[in-house]
Structure formats: C-alpha cells, structure tokens
C-alpha cells in the first residue's frame, strides 16, 4: 500500500512535467505567446516603473553583476527589518529584535534559498518580518535562481544572448511564482491551513491549563516555501506541524509544489535545445538517482531500527520515531527524498531520528545537489556534470569534446573545476574544522558516529542551499551562525558565477555542426554515462565521511 502511494505521486509528477516545462519555455523564450495577454500588462507596468524599457540581452558579466547587486539590496533590506522588527508594525506578539549573528545567518539563509533556520518562527519573528522579509525573500531568491538557470540554458543552447536578468527576474515572479502561489495558498486555506494576522490563540485545555497556540499568515508562506523550493517553515516544526501540513492531501500538494518546477526544467531545457530528447536524458538521469535513493530511505525506514527489532518489539510499522502518524513511512520517506532532492529543506519528519541507513538518502541528495535540485540550480549542476561527462568520455569517439555543438576547452574546464571543487571544499573543510574546536564539538547532542552525521548534515545542508536541519545540533551560537552563513554564501554564489561564465564562454563559440561522428548526448547511453559520472565524481568524494557517519552507526547498532 505504501509503495502505491509513492507511485501515484510520481505518476502525477510525470504527467505535470510536460505542461509545466512547456509553460516555462513560453515564459522565458521571450517569443510572443498567449500568456502575454494575461501578464503582459502587469509586466509592462513594472518595467515602466523601474525604467526597464529596453531590456537588452546581457553579457555573462552584466548578468552576474545584476544578479549579485539585486541580491545585495534585498539582503540589506532584510537585515534592517529583522534588526528593527520590535518597533515595526504587525507585531502583535511583541517579538524582540533579532540578535546580530542570527540575523546575519537568517538573511543569508533566505537570500541563498537555503532557509536554514537557527531561529524558531513562533518566537523569533514578527508577522511583518515573516511577510516582508521571509516570504519576500522566498519569492526573490527563487526568482534569482530561476533566472540564472534560464540564462545558463540560453548560453549552452546558443541563443543570441544570456537574456536580461531583470526581465527574467520579473517574469519568474509575475508569471510563475505569484500566480502559482496564489492558487496553492487558496487550496491550502481550503484544506484548513491558517491564514490570519490575529495574535497567538490562548485556550484553556481540558485539564485546566492555559496554552498558547501560535498561528498567523501560514498558508501564504507555505505555498511559496515549496514552490520556490525554499523550505523555511512558519513554525519551528516546519511541515510536520499540523497547521503547516494538516493532512496527507496537503502533504502530497506540498510535495508536488516543490517538485514540479525543478522536474519541469529539464523539459524546458530540451525545448531550448530544440531537441526534447536532450531534456528527457537529463530528466532520466535525475529520476534514476532519485528512485535509487528513495528506495534506500523507504527500505531502511520500513525495516525499522535493528537495535529495537532485536529487543523483540513489534516493528511492523517500521521506524516511526520522529514521524507523524498521519503521514506514515511512505509519505515521510517521499517527503524527505523530495525535499532534499529539490533542495527545499522543509521537513515533515525528524531527519535526526531516521535510521542511519535512511539518513544517507537526504545526505547523499544534498551532496550531489543535482537530482532535480531547487530553483534551477539543480538543472545547472546536472548540466555541468553532463559537460564533465562529455569531456571525460567524448574523446572516446575520436573527436575533441563538444556539448550541444560547442567545444569544451581549457577555459570551460577551469570554470567547471571551480564549481566541482567548491562543494566538497565547503563541506569537508568546515566539518573537519568543527571537530578541531570545542565551539563546534560543543553543539553535538549525540556523540559518536551520529554526532558526526549531525555536524556533517548541517554543513551539507548549508553548502547545498537546502536548509533542512538534521536537528539535534545546538546551532544558534555565534560559531554556527557565522560558519553556516559563510558557507551558504559560498555554496550559492561561487558555482553560479562560475557556471554563468561557462555559459557566456560557450555562447561566444562558433557552433560545430552535428554529424554522424558527433558524440550524442540525447540517448540512453549518455544518460548512463551521466549517472556514472555523478556517482564517481560527485558521490565517491563523500564516501569516507559517510562511512564514518551513518554507515558506521548502522554497523555498530546493537
């Protein structure tokens, strides 16, 4: 029965990929189409207001600079609001200003689409901050990532230019995120998710105690939280909280709303490449890795904890510690896999209490950071691996490597080298550094292999801009706020800029015509090569730490 639930969700996703991908292509191809009639007016208004009348194509440098400067402005705004929230309106619960390093961590966390939360929403943020900073950054960071991905795709598929960042940014919000968020919000409200500006509800429980029940504009945040693959919850318990995610149905809606756009991007890429098979090839590689890791998590969680099993306790339900009864193993396993694949980072169950083997799934997906991935970055990373695969194996057809008719040469390889280096660098070095200091070690709540996983998970989640917490780590300290803040920045911007440069460099190249002697990247063989490249170069790097963490924990459980 559990597997059926999972298969149904995957089937719905498969049905959504083509229409969603086609829609995205229409939005970003900048060719006249039907959606102009609905959104054209609003957009023209925004363009006119912002003086963006020409909207010329940009060089990669201008594109990257526009992207960076927009993000800097948004960060500055967010920082000021959070520091001053105590005196700003819409603060019915009288929440204080946020501490400096926590504010630093929080704004970076949201602008980088990570949504690592070292605060708890109920007690740390006013309603105004939730809406003007958190929800606003959820839209803008997702739109930023989306724009970059589209620019990258334009570059490698040989469009005239990378496009105009501001135009892409506005279009992503107006044509993609706002309308979808509106629909999902209404659906969620219909399914009992609260949406209110009233303060905390105070009730008297049956045994006469007074209890505060936190509420607020939850549905609106919830929708963009998943659509923008952000993941930062309104409440500390995130999507496990009954107000954020009341039923299995809302659970499926949340899964699909974070998964559909990333899954549709490969299809959109296929349309840009004028060869849908290119897109499906990338999609197939992502889906294969996804199903493999989902199966691992589902299998491990259903089998339960071997130590508890050996005590003779009934484990027919699997390992339910830290899971919501209303979701069960299948809906929890699927949510965990999707949220770490799509780098959303929302959680509907406690990753810290998953079985050791099961916890490999979220870790591995974030280490790879290219299985669907969030806000376009996943597609860009997977395409980077595709270029790498072409470079490694393309020589074997007796030609110097070319991808989509463009030669991959030293300059591209240098930039790609930066992008593949940065990920292990910003995960392994800080992990090692944390174990060398008391500041780092002090936060660990379960020493031993599990503690190792806690620390590793925190950095992996930051580096992949995922933001899900393994939890169990006392991470609201200056040390952790600063460390993870810097890592989120590096994880987001270094690879994005390097890969935009790759796109810019490929765009300038004279395309090589395709012949029978050309290395094909649109068939099953290439999908296989791509998966192998991702596993050997992307995954094996982390094998030693994973062996010391979850695998050693599993082997020593008794």
């Amino acid at each position: 029965m559990g597997i059926v639930q999972i298969i149904v969700v995957i089937a719905i996703l498969l049905l959504l990929v083509k229409p969603a991908g086609t829609y995205l292509y229409h939005v970003f191809s900048n060719e006249p189409n039907k959606t102009d009639r609905i959104f054209g007016g609003v957009e023209r208004g925004i363009f006119k207001l912002s003086g963006l009348n020409k909207r010329e194509g940009m060089s990669w440098k201008t594109y990257a600079l526009s992207f960076l400067s927009t993000n800097i402005v948004l960060v500055a705004f967010g920082y000021i609001v959070l520091r001053l929230q105590a005196g700003l309106p819409l603060n019915p619960n009288g929440i204080n200003q946020m501490e400096q390093t926590l504010t630093f961590n929080t704004v970076i966390s949201f602008i980088t689409n990570t949504n690592l939360q070292h605060y708890s929403g109920e007690t740390g943020l006013s309603y105004f901050s939730q809406m003007a900073v958190i929800t606003m950054l959820m839209f803008t960071s997702a739109a930023s990532g989306f724009s970059v991905a589209v620019a990258f795709v334009r570059g490698i598929t040989g469009r005239a230019t990378l496009g105009n960042f501001f135009e892409d940014f506005v279009k992503s919000i107006v044509r993609v995120f706002l309308p979808l968020a509106l629909i999902i919000t209404l659906v969620l409200v219909g399914l009992q998710v609260p949406q209110t500006l009233k303060p905390t509800i105070q009730i008297t429980t049956m045994d006469g105690q007074i209890q505060q029940i936190a509420t607020g504009p939850v549905a609106s945040l919830e929708s963009i939280k998943h659509l923008g693959t952000n993941g930062g919850g309104f409440f500390g318990a995130n999507s496990a909280h009954p107000f954020e995610n009341p039923s299995p149905l809302t659970n499926v809606i949340e899964i699909l709303s974070m998964w559909t756009l990333p899954a549709a991007l490969p299809y959109m890429y296929g349309l840009f490449a004028k060869n849908k098979r290119q897109g499906w090839g990338i999609f197939a590689a992502m889906m294969t890795l996804f199903v493999l890791l989902l199966s691992l998590n589902y299998y491990a969680e259903s089998s339960g904890n071997p130590a508890i099993n050996s005590m003779g306790i009934d484990v027919s339900q699997g390992s339910m510690e830290g899971k919501e009864v209303r979701f069960g193993i299948p809906q929890s396993a699927l949510f965990t896999t999707v949220t770490t694949a799509a780098t959303t980072g929302s959680v509907n169950n406690m990753h810290d209490t998953q079985t050791p083997l099961g916890s490999i799934t979220p870790l591995a997906l974030m280490m790879l950071n290219n299985v669907f991935g969030g806000k376009g970055v996943g597609l860009v990373n997977m395409l980077m691996y595709a270029i790498l695969a072409v470079f490694l194996c393309g020589l074997m057809v007796g030609r110097t490597p070319e991808f989509l008719g463009r030669k991959i040469e030293a300059r591209e390889m240098k930039l790609i080298a930066v992008a593949i280096l940065i990920h292990p660098l910003i995960i392994l070095v800080p992990t090692a550094a944390s174990f060398l200091t008391d500041l780092g070690q002090g936060a660990i709540s379960n020493p031993g292999n599990h503690g190792l996983t806690q620390v590793l998970y925190e950095y992996v989640s930051s580096a992949a801009n995922n933001g899900s917490g393994f939890e169990g780590l006392a991470d609201n300290t200056t040390f952790w706020n600063m460390m993870t803040g810097v890592i989120m920045l590096l994880g987001r911007y270094v690879s994005i800029i390097a890969l935009l440069a790759v796109a810019g460099s490929l765009l300038r190249k004279q395309p090589v015509p395709e012949t029978i002697g050309t290395f094909r990247t649109d068939n099953g063989l290439f999908t296989g090569i791509l998966i192998a490249t991702v596993l050997i170069i992307g995954a094996l790097t982390f094998l030693p730490v994973v062996v010391l963490g979850p695998i050693a924990e599993h082997l020593t459980l008794r």
């Binding site: 790498l388 470079f391 490694l392 194996c393 393309g394 020589l395 074997m396 057809v397 007796g398 030609r399 110097t400 490597p401 008719g405 991959i408 040469e409 030293a410 390889m413 790609i416 080298a417 593949i420 280096l421 292990p424 392994l428 070095v429 992990t431 090692a432 550094a433 174990f435 060398l436 070690q441 031993g448 292999n449 503690g451 190792l452 004279q510 395309p511 090589v512 015509p513 012949t515 029978i516 002697g517 290395f519 094909r520 068939n523 063989l525 090569i529 192998a532 050997i536 170069i537 094996l540 790097t541 094998l543 030693p544 730490v545 062996v547 010391l548 695998i551 050693a552 082997l555 020593t556």
Partner: protein, 677 residues
C-alpha cells in the same frame, strides 16, 4: 617507402636510456609540470621522512609497512617517468639519424662574379650557391638556374632521385640532399638553425613540445580531481579523530595516491608524444600536436582530383573502331604501337588488350624500331621489320600523318573523338601506314580502394569535396566513380579558399592537401593543411603538416591517427577514473577496521588484512601504469564506425573494464601479498 621499414616499438638501448631518464625526471622542478605525479612524489618524500626519522614521527612500530609504502610510491613515480621517457626516446632515435645528415658541408658561394668556398653554417638568407653533381646542397633554398636530379632519400627515404628545376612548382631544395646529375644555382632561403632539417629534428625530438589545447583542458580536470581528493584525505584525519579512529599518515597518503588519477596522469604526455610519433612513422611530419588533434576533428576534406583520387596519368579504358574496322584490329595495332612504350599510357594499352583477351604477335616487334614521342610529332610507335609503320598519337597529328601518305580519313573519326573529349577523356588515334583503325580512349582512373576509403570517411562523419580543373562533366563522372560527397569543377586556387571559408563559417574544420605555391593561401586557411615534400617552400611554410613521400591521399590516414590519439586519451582517462571504485572498496574498510571491527562487512573483496589491502591497492595502482604503456604507445584500435557504436564499444572496454579490472587485480595481488603480511 621501401627504405622506411616499420621501426620496432622498443629496442634495448632505448629501454636503457628510458630507465636512466626516469630517475633524472624525479627532479621536482621537472616533475612539477605533471601535478598529479608531483603530489605522489611529495607523498613519497613524506613517507621517506617517516622511515628515516621513525622516532620523530612515532612511527617505529610501522617501519616495515612504511618502507613498503615508500618503495611502491617511488616505483609509481618512476613508472610514470619511464612511460614519458620511453615515448620521448623513440623521437630522439629518429632525430639522431636526421642529425647525421646535418653535417657541416662546404658551399660554393657566388660572391660578386667569383665563387668562394665557405662553410654551410656561414650561409645566410639570400646567398646564392652553385651545387654540382655529387655535392650536397648546403641549405634550404630555391633553384634559380638550371635543372638537376636530386637524391632526397636522407629525408624522405625514397631512393629514386627527383628532378628540381628553376621556376614552377619543383624549385625547392632541402639542405643535406645530394645532387646526382647536372648543376644548379640555388638561392638560400633560411638562416642557420632555422632550416627544414633543423625544424624536423626539433619536431621529432619533441624539444619544443607544447601541450595541446585538449591536453591543457584535461590537465585542468586532473588537477582539480587531485585537489578534491586531497581535501577528502586531509579532512578525514580530524574527522576520524573525533571518533577516536587514528589514521596513520602513510595510510592516508596511500589512499590519496590511489584515488588521484595517477594512471592517466602518468601516461598523458606519453600518449601525446606517441601520437605525434605515429604520424612521423608514417612519414608525415606534423608541426605541432595541435595539428594532429585538429585532424581528429576534421569535418570536411578537400582533395585534389589528380594524384589524390586518381592516378593523374591517363589510362586506356576502351578501344573505339572507326570506319569499317573492328575493335580487335584497333586493339592489336594499338598494342603493337606500344610494345616498347614505357610511358604509363603505353603500358596501360597493353594491360587493356590483355584484359579484353585479344592476342597479338609480339614477334612482329623483333627488330622493329621504336619511334619515341616528340613534342613536334605528338606521336609514337614502331617501324616494324616487315615495313609497316604503326603510330598512335594526337588525333590531328595522326590525321596529318595519314593524309601525307595519301590515306583516307574515316568519316566518323572526328565524331568519336569529340565524344571522348566531351566525356573528359583523351582520344589517341591508331594508324598503320595510310589507314586509321580507330581510337584509344584514355581516361583518368580512380585509384583502387578510394571508394572504400570515402565510405569509411562518411562513417566517421567526414564530408569529401573533390577539386579539379576539369570541366563539370568530367568532374561529375570521376566524382560519381570515386564516391565523393561533392566536387568543384574548373576550380582555381581561389575557389579552394572560398570553399574552405564557407565550410569554416558553418563551424566545420577543414583539411586539405596541396603542393603548389598557389595552394599556399588555402593550406594556411585550412585547419589541417598537408603539404607535399615535393612542393614549393611557400606551400610547406603555409601547411601545418607535410608528407615526406608526397602522397596526398595520406591525409585520410592522418585523420585516423588524430582520432586514435584522442580516443586513446579518452579511453585511459575513463579507465583511470573508473578504477577509483574498486580502490575505495579496498582501502576504506581497511582503514577503519582496526578501530571499528564491524567495518569488515564492507570488505567485499575479502582481502587478507588491512595492511595487505592497502599495499595491494597501491601495487595495483603502480603496475597498471607500465601495463598500459604499450596501449598508450600503440593507441587503442580504431575502425571507422558511427560515434554511437564507437562509444558503446569503448565504454564497454574501458569504462566497465576500468571498474572490473582493479577488483580482480587487487584481489589477485592481495592473494600473493597476504602470504607475507
């Protein structure tokens, strides 16, 4: 080609000098150019320090293990150096034989009105020298006066002398070659140290070998993989220390060396040098590795018809009777006229007669007088001993000759000769005394095997364009016969450049061959320009390769060699990286088993002990380098086929092979090693 025997892959002295060089190359300054191996050398040095100063590193207990690791690491670096030295050695051997040609010779320099004898090293550009029969030409230059036959075997290996004369496309001479008849005046065109021979020596020596663009890109990737694995290994120690798992430095170095791509890192430059060398073995000199790489990428090949696709000389293909004569009569008389005619045309007539099955009385020729072809008469033939005079030659000339003897010209002679001319052929009339029997249809014939070659090229995705000065009709006939993809009739050298430019505008890489001065701009424009050694200096300067045997159809082999070079590089890279999977499974459990005994489950290969597992993985990592040297030098086997089939085949061999071989190899080595450890 007769004197150029296939050189043996390896010889004794070559091996000895390569062994010596592999130690010389241990010098860190030189090794730094190969970052992957440099990292191994640093690791070797660290382990050496631990062996020498065990007290300081608290490594006294593990001294036996450390010594073993040190030796294997050292051998790994030596193996990689050996591969490179060996590849370089083959080039050096060839350069040495060329250097013998380059001795200081005396030159007869024309100074004012007199001739002065100077050393060839004193000659400068623009000097004029006289070279007589039996003398060596003192430097590269152009013949400005006279005609001589020159023996160029020192450079080309071709023993038959070639004619060099002033003006035209056969005026360039090369220093070190010998004049075997007559006397020529030569204007020197290069300063000492820059001559053709000097360049050739430095080319085959690989002295100025620069990394090719693809090598640079691949190196970047190898370096970044090396850095990634360094991060993995360096961070592992503190992380493991948190779990009280103490990782010894030699073990970490062993893990690092196994993971970084040492196999391809060690063989990369050898592959490049060997690829150049394969081109040289083929008597083609490439000016740079870049040119060989570009050859693999060629999309379009522009080939001259004459000499490349066809023999160039016209061959008899048909006998056409005129008037009331029969084909047999034409054939028999044509044969008799050609019995002593040693020109290719003459020989082809005899061959055609035999092929058609006609017989003639060769006895008639005994005592006959052979009349040679002369420009004035434009006929050749025999005056037979029985008094008959047999002639074949240009139709007009034969007509005049027959008419002068009172013969009658058959009505349909002109008609048939026009038909032949219209098809691009050459008609030769055959006459005996005052009677014209018919015509020999001389046709340019396609070299055997060309059609198959073009078919192969098509499978590689290469388009062929034939260039010819012929009229469109003739061109179309030959094009269809040879099976080329396109042709340009009545082409001029300017046409060639236009075609090259228009193909390049579409992003295609173009290869062409040429020899004349007017080919030079096109040769320079093409991505791969193959000049003929017999060609002019200008053509050779413009090209990025030249063929010492002057066989233009070799461009096809050059492309295959270029592809093979790239494939070898790709195959070994894939193999090297795929090896990592097995190495992880050998070393990771071994590293942790002491502290976490449950890790034994991960020892899926069932290796004897942690130490033997690490040693075995290291040994495998080292010996795979020399085992792959023959493959790196020879290149992977290549048959033209579509890229998808090619890829599937190579992925199967080098990808899956790369995963499976180390599992097997490490297990086998471990079975031996665990006898001791």
């Amino acid at each position: 080609m007769s004197t150029v025997q296939k050189k043996k892959l390896l010889t004794g002295p070559m091996m000895r000098s390569a062994v010596k060089d592999s130690f010389v190359k241990l010098n860190p300054v030189t090794l730094m150019k190969n970052p992957v191996m440099f990292v191994v050398e640093i690791g070797t040095f660290i382990v050496l320090m631990m062996v020498l100063l065990p007290g300081y590193f608290h490594a006294s207990e593990a001294i036996g293990f450390n010594i073993t690791v040190f030796v294997i690491l050292l051998v790994t670096v030596l193996f990689a150096n050996f591969a490179e030295a060996l590849a370089e050695g083959r080039g050096k051997a060839q350069a040495d034989s060329l250097k013998k040609t380059k001795q200081d010779i005396s030159a007869n320099k024309v100074a004012g009105g007199s001739i002065k004898i100077v050393a060839s090293s004193e000659l400068r550009k623009g000097d004029i020298v006289v070279v007589s029969q039996g003398e060596l030409i003192p430097g590269d230059g152009e013949v400005i006066e006279g005609l001589a036959s020159v023996d160029e075997s020192a450079i080309t290996g071709e023993s038959a002398p070639v004619i060099k004369e002033a003006g035209g496309d056969f005026n360039s001479v090369t220093g070190g070659t010998r004049v075997v008849s007559d006397e020529i005046k030569v204007r020197i065109t290069s300063d000492p140290g820059e001559s053709f021979l000097d360049r050739m020596i430095s080319l085959v020596e690989g002295a100025k070998r620069q990394k090719t663009p693809n090598e640079i890109a691949l190196n970047t990737l190898l370096i970044s993989l090396t850095i990634i694995f360094m991060i993995v290994v360096v961070t592992l120690r503190p992380i493991a220390a948190y779990l009280d798992v103490d990782l010894e430095i030699p073990v970490l170095i062993a893990l690092l060396v196994c993971l970084i791509p040492t196999t391809i890192g060690g063989l990369l430059s050898a592959i490049g040098i060997a690829g150049m060398d394969r081109v040289t073995q083929f008597n083609v000199l490439a000016m740079s590795g870049k040119a060989v790489e570009a050859a693999g990428d060629i999309n379009t090949m522009i080939l001259d018809k004459t000499g490349t696709i066809t023999f160039g000389n016209r061959m008899a293909s048909e006998f056409v009777p005129v008037g009331k004569e029969t084909e047999e009569d034409v054939a028999v008389w044509a044969a008799l006229s050609s019995l002593k005619d040693e020109t290719p045309e003459g020989r082809s007539v005899i061959e055609l007669v035999k092929k058609l099955g006609y017989s003639y009385d060769a006895g008639l020729a005994s005592g006959a007088e052979f009349i040679e072809f002369r420009a004035e008469t434009r006929m050749s033939g025999m005056d037979l001993s029985d008094g008959h005079k047999v002639r074949k030659g240009a139709v007009d000339s034969v007509k005049r000759w027959v008419a002068s003897q009172g013969g009658i010209i058959p009505d349909n002679l002109d008609q048939h000769s026009n038909i032949i001319a219209g098809k691009g052929g050459t008609p030769l009339a055959v006459a005996v005394d005052n009677r014209i029997y018919g015509l020999i249809y001389l046709k340019d014939t396609v070299k055997p095997g060309m059609k198959e070659r073009f078919e192969e090229l098509r499978k590689m995705g290469i388009k062929t364009i034939m260039c010819t000065g012929d009229n469109p009709l003739t061109a179309a006939t030959i094009a269809a016969e040879a099976g080329v993809d396109g042709f340009i009739a009545e082409s001029t050298p300017e046409n060639k450049i236009e075609v090259i430019r228009s193909e390049q505008k579409e992003g295609k890489l173009v290869a062409m061959t040429g020899d004349g001065t007017n080919d030079a701009p096109a040769l320079a424009q093409a991505d791969v320009g193959l000049a003929m050694n017999s060609g002019t200096t200008a053509a050779k300067e413009a090209a990025n390769m030249f063929d010492l045997d002057s066989d233009p159809s070799k461009i096809i082999e050059v492309v295959a060699i270029g592809k093979q070079l790239l494939m070898t590089r790709g195959a070994l890279t894939t193999f090297s990286i795929a090896n990592d999977i097995a190495k992880y499974f050998a070393i990771i459990p071994a590293m942790f088993t002491l502290a976490i005994p449950e890790m034994e489950v991960l020892n899926i290969m069932g290796l004897g002990s942690p130490s033997s597992a690490i040693i075995s993985a290291l040994i495998f990592n080292a010996i795979i380098i020399p085992l792959l040297i023959p493959l790196a030098m020879r290149g992977v086997s290549y048959k033209p086929m579509s890229s998808t089939r090619l890829l599937r085949r190579n992925i199967f061999i080098y990808g899956f092979g790369g995963v499976a071989v180390p599992f097997l190899g490490i297990k086998l080595i471990d079975m031996v090693v665990s006898l001791w450890i």
